[in-house]
Symmetry: C2
Subunit: 158 residues, 2 copies
């Protein structure tokens, strides 16, 4: 087992990763607010992405996000209230209520993707393309495969 680099304490790495994530997400939402989506919260973008173009149900959404169906339902309620999602009855199954992205939600998703592309371009300008791809490759190597879980508030806070 290799010994730790004495010059580089291990605790800095998670802080830097969190700082990088937070910087990107803050920049995204600052730009989203300028482009007409000030209500979108960091969590909401992930939820919209998980709903997807085809729509889904609250139960399935909970499974995708790694949270309970009840929590998924409550989050959908709030996104419905601000106009990013809508609920429609499923004609083929009266138990199900399909959750769909509204046009406003689709606009937010499209802009988010464009803004993320621009932000990544800024990173490649500053760091060089090969450094950014190296970071992505290395994080893909080290990070757990099941990272698409959106229970971040409960996970972090307990």
């Amino acid at each position: 087992m290799a010994t730790a680099d004495p010059v580089r304490p291990g605790f800095a790495l998670p802080l830097l990763l969190l700082a990088g994530f937070r910087t990107l997400i803050d920049d995204l939402h600052a730009e989203l607010a300028r482009e007409g989506h000030p209500e979108l919260r960091p969590l909401h973008g992930f939820v919209l992405q998980a709903v997807g173009a085809d729509g889904t149900t609250a139960t399935e959404l909970g499974q995708r996000l790694g949270i309970s169906k009840q929590a998924a339902g409550k989050t959908v309620d709030r996104l419905v209230a601000v106009g990013y999602l809508e609920r429609v009855d499923d004609p083929s199954d009266a138990r199900r209520r399909l959750v769909r992205v509204t046009p406003r939600g689709a606009d937010g998703l499209r802009r988010s993707a464009e803004i993320f592309d621009r932000l990544r371009a800024q990173w490649t300008e500053t760091l060089g393309p090969e450094r950014v791809t190296a970071m992505e490759d290395d994080l893909g190597t080290m990070a757990s495969a099941n990272w698409f879980r959106l229970d971040v508030p409960g996970w972090f806070g307990g």
Copy 2:
């Protein structure tokens, strides 16, 4: 302005950063639980670190963490309840209640630092030392300077 690399969509970068952070923190707390600290939550380690060896007050802790003094006080309450922090009266100012790390809290902090060092060593074994230092340097370049804010639950969820 550079155009985005079409092969590398921008949205992957924040997800990879979050996944890397989460992987490290999850590994840390799995090992902490094995070493006798199963109650520690991700948030708690940051709070213990912010209290520091000299102790502090709830109001100052809130300022350090970027949260209100009330929120800091409530978090201190919970860490007192599980034995990681203690409150003592300040003999020089009857308004203040000093928050101090208990021996158990200090043990958790010490073990956290050691575990983070071991986790970083694992990363350098897999990726090579120069790739890890490059990642740290690049993140330090791109991330905002004021990253030590622990309002993550409220920030993320809204």
